[in-house]
């Protein structure tokens, strides 16, 4: 039999692959990861998968309980709301609004935050000190309060909510990138490539970023769970997504008046939010756990 590898070669996986190796062996984190991927797929393919339209109601089927209830109808698996709209379809479309938008928001804030953060890590003196204090002030204001203010300026609506939350989430990414980059720049391997004559940007791109990417990801999962909750909260308060949109928070607010006769219109969207946030947090926990183990090994 031909041996392709004649020499015993020692392989050093990249830091990211080491992390994935540890992450893969944590069952709970993998459950979270699979749920996360499931939600992303659902967010993309909801229009293809959903059995009914999320906004058109069927007036013959008003307030139908879920299928496991004696009065339920199996063609409306999770029941219907007060206009005969299928809850399952609404929740599926809601995935792309609440979960999908929060994902996009976090990616957007992450990119901008990392750019500003790494640039500011390279500066020092009064500019840097001013930025630091300014960030402290902005971070001390609760994100939801700031988002409410921005929505008040722009006017209610889902797109304005998304912009508001994106802006609100940038400072925390600036903060964490700044700290991480500064910390890495003090280490010897950066000094080594500096002695080789690498410019600051080259060091940043080839040496520092691969080493801080997991920390950024861990912060991103935290930010995303907060983003899901913020979008849903603004939707619930009626200043986020507006009435016909099947955003989870606004579905919940919509079901509020019929809480006692149709409790599933309140339970189900709440459970959906809970599921999405738990999945995101499990992934984040998994990353942090793997980071800790990698540091110890």
């Amino acid at each position: 039999m031909a041996r392709e590898k004649i020499y015993l070669e020692e392989i050093f996986p990249s830091p990211f692959m080491q992390l994935w190796g540890i992450f893969r062996k944590t069952p709970v984190a993998m459950v979270g990861f699979v749920s996360f991927i499931f939600l992303i797929l659902l967010a993309i393919f909801a229009p293809l998968l959903a059995p009914y339209s999320p906004v058109d109601g069927n007036l013959d089927m008003i307030l139908l309980p879920p299928a496991w209830h004696p009065d339920g109808n199996v063609s409306y698996l999770l029941g219907t709301d007060e206009l005969g709209r299928d809850m399952l379809s609404r929740l599926m479309y809601g995935t792309s609004l609440t979960f999908g938008l929060s994902f996009i928001v976090v990616i957007f804030s992450l990119v901008i935050g990392v750019l500003i953060g790494s640039l500011s890590a390279l500066t020092s003196g009064i500019k840097s000190s001013f930025l630091n204090h300014f960030l402290d002030v902005v971070l001390s204001i609760p994100s939801l309060l700031l988002a409410i203010i921005i929505v008040a300026i722009l006017g209610p609506g889902i797109s304005n909510t998304v912009w508001a939350i994106a802006v609100v989430f940038i400072p925390q990414f600036i903060h964490i990138t700044r700290y991480a980059v500064k910390e890495e720049f003090r280490k010897d391997y950066v000094l080594a490539s500096r002695l080789d004559g690498a410019s600051n940007f080259r060091i940043l791109y080839y040496s520092v970023f691969p080493n801080i990417v997991e920390r950024l990801m861990s912060q991103a999962t935290l930010a995303q769970s907060a983003a899901i909750l913020d979008i849903a909260t603004l939707g619930f308060l009626g200043i986020g997504a507006q009435i016909p949109l099947p955003e989870w928070g606004s579905i919940l607010a919509n079901g509020l008046e019929r809480f006692y006769i149709a409790p599933w219109t309140v339970y189900l969207p709440g459970l959906a939010i809970l599921f999405a946030v738990v999945a995101t947090n499990l992934v984040g926990e998994g990353i942090r756990h793997a980071l800790k183990l990698r540091k110890e090994s």
Binding site: S129, H133, V137, S140, P142, I148, F236, L274, V277, E285
Partner: protein
């Protein structure tokens, strides 16, 4: 300690400047006329408006406009509410104490529940009880607060009928407004039904305070667990064990004290989070606080109220932040030294 105080003071002044700058610029960003947004006088005649815009130095450059705005704030004039046309400072003085009361009770509950649970988890590190507590903490951290509030109302107010679902106190009790903090006002009043009122007010605060406390409590669990694990690994604990102290002596005399100091540092940061949750909870439980008022001002497009609300709430959060910093520094001499700008 003096340099520490001075440094915190300069940070405080800087923060106040940035915050006022933010609320000042909001008047330009909001739709409508800047002077009206500053003052909230929507029904004013042309002459009155000229007077107002003179007092805000609107004809001069932007810096003296900002100066005029600052002097208005320092004199306690936050303008009129566009919705009710009453001075905002009066409204805030009536509403802020209710929020302070609710959030402090919630903070207390969160700390009393979260910190011991975190310690228990840390002492049983990597055992079943640790994992159970951590999983519960994660679940509690992930529950959307408005959903939790609704479920709590459904279970405890409607199905079981144990606790009232809305408001601060039953309308039957007439309590004179002194400090605004309900419990103090009740104790100060000379009503013959003082203790009935007191128990009624306590019954009203339990449900919203517990709903608010859940998420911060889970964070306290994680913080105290991490702090305790770190302390238990320290060499002075090993020294104490080598001296022959038994387990409870080590925990109660050495470990808890040192772990608590580490937690106090994070209380200020958690408070901002707690106030956000309190804002939403106030809406659900119809609590007459500043959070509900602020969200209603958003519905009513009451821009003057929104900018003052932002200013007051973030000042309040920042003051608590600095207070916890001081308490931390007073308890832990190591913290007074080298933390430039952190």
């Amino acid at each position: 300690m003096l340099t520490f105080t001075l440094r915190r003071l300069s940070l405080f002044i800087f923060t106040m400047l940035v915050l006022t700058l933010l609320s000042f610029s909001l008047s330009f960003l909001f739709p409508g006329d800047t002077v009206i947004n500053h003052s909230g006088q929507i029904n004013a005649t042309a002459e009155e408006l000229t007077l107002v815009s003179n007092s805000y130095h609107m004809d001069k450059d932007i810096f003296s406009q900002y100066g005029a705005y600052l002097s208005h704030i320092i004199n306690g004039d936050l303008g009129l509410s566009m919705a009710s046309q009453s001075p905002i400072s009066n409204e805030i003085m009536e509403l802020l104490p209710a929020t302070i009361e609710l959030s402090l009770v919630a903070l207390l509950i969160a700390m009393l529940v979260g910190i011991p649970l975190g310690f228990i988890a840390a002492i049983n590190h990597n055992k079943t009880s640790d994992n159970v507590i951590l999983s519960l903490a994660m679940l509690g951290y992930s529950i959307p607060v408005f959903w939790l509030g609704l479920l709590a109302i459904l279970v405890f107010s409607i199905t079981l009928g144990w606790l009232p679902s809305a408001g601060q106190i039953s309308l039957l009790f007439e309590i004179e407004f002194v400090t605004g903090i309900q419990f103090i006002d009740i104790l100060l009043s000379d009503s013959p039904y003082k203790w009935q009122a007191f128990s009624n007010a306590s019954a009203h605060i339990i449900l919203p305070a517990c709903v608010i406390a859940l998420a911060p409590a889970t964070i306290f669990i994680r913080l105290s667990r991490a702090a305790m694990i770190e302390v238990l690994a320290a060499s002075y604990i090993r020294a104490a064990r080598a001296k022959g102290l038994n387990f409870s002596q080590i925990i109660f005399r050495h470990a808890i004290r040192n772990a608590l100091i580490k937690i106090i540092r994070h209380v200020g940061l958690q408070f901002a989070n707690l106030v956000t949750i309190a804002m939403v909870t106030e809406v659900i439980f119809s609590w007459p606080g500043i959070g509900r008022w602020l969200i209603e001002s958003v519905y009513q497009r009451d821009y003057t109220a929104i900018q003052s609300g932002l200013l007051v709430l973030s000042c309040f959060i920042f003051i608590i932040h600095i207070l916890t910093d001081f308490i931390y520094a007073a308890l832990n001499p190591l913290a007074r030294g080298n933390n430039h700008g952190s």
